[in-house]
């Protein structure tokens, strides 16, 4: 299973990357960690004419806290995020999400930006970004812009990133009051989830001030739970009925059958995850 031939570019600056993207457009693919792209190339399902290697580009990796935002460079390795003391202090749930992602070995090379850009509907990172209302920092020769997660993830494998744009960094809001739970059920360790959930609930004065329930493996793309969130928001924390909210949340999903799991199994599993997450959050918050 050998890849088809390609032209290889190894730029060292973001400017060089976006210039190449502008030139080659859809003929080019970006090589980040390679843990998803290279298998596709080995199977010859992906056959880029031009492969732009991001691994030597300066300034694309790094984790820093800037006030109430955690900025993670797109080429930061998943293992680096997990090991980062900055992340541990500011946003430990991000590390928790990444611990579910792939395996120890794939996390050594796999990048946060790569996962976000691929937008696999079964992946943790896009759902996490969606739940946190993260901002995606994009650059092209034309412009720099930031796109909010809700506008970034359009569907499975489809994002708002245009062919000439490079994802440079992801900005996560740090919300001190937020309780964030990441959970999934997978057939085996490291497998794509049968169902997965990132739940964020912020409380103030015993009431839910804001919430986000973002699903993975529960639809053609990652998705939020507007009905469940509406039921939560403004309500008293002690009054949360996890089962009722979970039913609403599952009702917001749109899973389909594939040979790994039926939609019915995914919904049943999702319900368990939602109940567990809401129960955990409620218990911790009331404690």
């Amino acid at each position: 299973m050998k890849p088809a031939a390609f032209d290889y570019l190894v730029p060292t600056t973001v400017d060089a990357v976006v210039a190449s993207l502008a030139l080659h457009g859809d003929d080019a693919q970006l090589l980040a960690g390679g843990q998803s792209l290279v298998p596709m190339m080995a199977l010859r399902v992906a056959r880029p004419e031009v492969l732009i290697d991001l691994n030597r580009v300066a300034g694309l990796s790094g984790i820093e806290r800037i006030g109430d935002t955690l900025r993670v460079g797109a080429m930061t390795r998943q293992a680096q995020v997990i090991a980062s003391p900055v992340v541990a202090e500011a946003l430990p749930s991000l590390a928790a999400a990444l611990r579910f992602t792939g395996h120890f070995q794939t996390r050594n090379r796999g990048t946060l930006g790569g996962s976000i850009s691929l937008a696999d509907p079964s992946a943790e990172s896009p759902a996490y970004a969606l739940a946190l209302d993260a901002q995606m920092e994009l650059r092209s020769q034309r412009r720099s812009r930031t796109v909010a997660a809700a506008d970034y993830f359009l569907s499975g494998y489809t994002t708002a990133r245009e062919p000439d744009e490079l994802l440079v960094a992801i900005h996560y809001p740090i919300r001190p009051r937020a309780r964030i739970v990441v959970d999934e059920v997978a057939r085996r360790q490291g497998d794509f989830a049968t169902a997965g959930l990132v739940a964020r609930v912020e409380c103030e004065g015993g009431r839910v001030a804001a919430s986000a329930l973002a699903w993975f493996s529960m639809g053609p793309g990652v998705l939020r739970s507007p009905n469940a969130e509406a039921a939560l928001n403004g309500g008293a924390l002690a009054d949360i009925d996890p089962e009722a909210v979970a039913d609403l949340a599952v009702g917001d999903t749109d899973p389909f059958d594939d040979h790994h799991a039926s939609a019915s199994l995914r919904r049943a599993t999702a319900r368990v995850l939602a109940i567990r997450a809401l129960t955990t959050i409620r218990t911790e918050e009331l404690a």
């Binding site: 040979h259 039926s262 049943a268």
Partner: protein, 748 residues
Amino acid sequence: MDDIVLPGMLEATFVRSPFARARIVSISLEAALRAPGVRAIFVAQDLKQLPLAMFYNFGNPTSPMPVQTPLAEGYVRFAGDPVALIIAESRYLAEDAAELVEVEYDAETPVLTIADAISGPQVHPDLPGNISDDALGGDDPEIDAIFAGAAHVVSDVIRHQRQTHVPMETRGLIAACDGAGELTVYYACQNPHQAARYISKVFDLPGHHVRVVAKDVGGAFGLKVHPMRDELAVVAATLITGHTIKWIEDRVENLTAAYHAREQEMSVKLAFDAGGHLLAADIDHVMNMGAYPQGNSPGPLAMMMFSGPYRLPKLRHRTRSYFSNTCGLGAYRGPWMIESLGRETMMDLAARQMGIDPVDLRRRNLIRKEDQPYVTPMGLTMDRISPVETLEKVVREIDVDAFRQEQAAAREAGRYLGLGFAAYVEPTVLAFAGAMATESVQVRVEPTGKVVATSSTHSQGHSTQTTIAQVVADELGVDLADVTVLEGDSSRGGFGAAAGGSRQAVAGGGAAKTAAGLVRDKVKKIAAHMLNASPHLVEIKGSQILVDGVVEVSTTLTNIAEAAYFKTDRLPPDMEPGLEFQFRYRPPPMVFSNAAHACVVEVDIATGMVKILRWVVSEDCGVMINPAVVEGQVSGGVAQGIGGVLFEHAAYDDYGNPTAVTFKDYLLPQIGDVPVLEFVHTITPSDTPGGFKGVGEGGAIIGPPTLVNAIADALSPLGVRCLDLPLTPDRILGGLQQRSAIPESAGR
């Protein structure tokens, strides 16, 4: 295999059919031949310049079986069928060229399932039909009356999904011509001598012109026991072009176009008397053979073993096997395992139905010491087996009473724990008349005093280089470190079948022990002569030759060897020089080993996920040459059994396209999916040299029913039927919903 690099070596890849069933309308090689680095491309026609005739090494001559050719001729009969062979300077370039081969197909609706095969068009038009074997036996007129009058009858159908072997090393070979008509094939196989013989016969070459070398082989499990069509195409290409050609199968090919296994179903009816004693069994088995199977169906073996470790007075049985437009059936670790799966799951079903504890039901029926030798309804004589002893050990180790209390408490809390047992008898060695009949070992003491054993056995992870060495070392009285076992080269040593049928400990061990014994006796005679002692007082320990009771007199094995080879005047008069003996051992056709397993699981009824908490084994494989090897074999088999019950499915879509083409879809058990196995060994020696019995396949035979029974036990309060494998979360939730105890969206 891929480690070997030879000068001027080219690499191969195949163009394979994307259709399960189609006529090949045309093949255009023009563009591919012009691709960079391409040296030759072959299609079926091109191989006809050789006297090439494939045959079945393991086949029943009376069963209809398709003629096989290395490359598809005129028709493709499964998705993955090899159509063209590309030889190029590298695999990268070969794959580039493969994409340029244009094949026009006229696709037809494929025959995929057993049901399709029964009602649909013929897979092989030149055969009488789609059925290969159809064997009915034990049709005793009393059986219907027994069922009609029995106190208890249980009946159901067990279905096993299609799997594949997945050794971590895929298939592969390098074929090289050493001058006119002499071939060396470096071949990842289970049996170098068998492979060399087969290749020489297929290509009508003198036997000694073909040498097969197999050094380290990364697992096989039955996949590599018979040279296959695509491999023979590579050999043919070498013979035609004179080039040295390497082909390493890639994982997609390995999962879809090598061999498949296990797709079958069996209906089982058991009749019991009021006391829970088996009266009769009636089984009907059907198996999917695919398009190009490796040999005959294992159905007859399954029928033969169905009574297992129990006293079963009567057995009516029928087995039929069908061709289909899918990847062919190959022997996979315990190919007949459906007998244990069907029997042990139905025993538990019967126990539940009759309100008898499943252990107790087994106790009432197991073959006891006093029943042996026991003649089964199929006429097999079982002796030196320990079904009762192994079951009781496992029961004690698990502490069944404590578990049942724990299980009851868990149920109160809405958690579902289960305990499953299974017992079986394994026919090992399988040294029926034919290629598997004998095994040969030559033991020689070199002039240096070190010992070399040239063995016809072969390891793909079996550790025969250790176990055969142990047998020789023990028998001869030398340190293990002083024994070297040579295997894996058909030019060395005599013919043997090597790996397959759990045979090497008995067949190879028996040959090794006997040959080593002959060497030992000669050493003692020489020593006795040289030391002026009585031969029966001579001992060999750690290569020191000692005389019992006479401390001052001793010599070394090296001295004896030097006399035997160089200073022959020191030998007893009329004794031939040398210290080398070969022994070819004919073991009994079957040596029975047996085991009982138990496992504890928890089933999450909200998600359908199964977690295995504990697994206990008591196996009896006779005298164990090396307990670590025994436990390793059982563990590996159990892991494969877990894969078969929970994870692995070599599925096809409705068009005959395989859907599990990578490891993302064909799921194998990981470290977290296999529990730590606890062993309590039982030893009932066989009556073969050394007292050994086979053990290699057992874990994969008894593992699945053990796990299925545990899951069924967990779900028994909810009445869920667990007889359609694999027991994926979807199947388990589906079973729960069918019982309508739980609505679709509920979770607990």
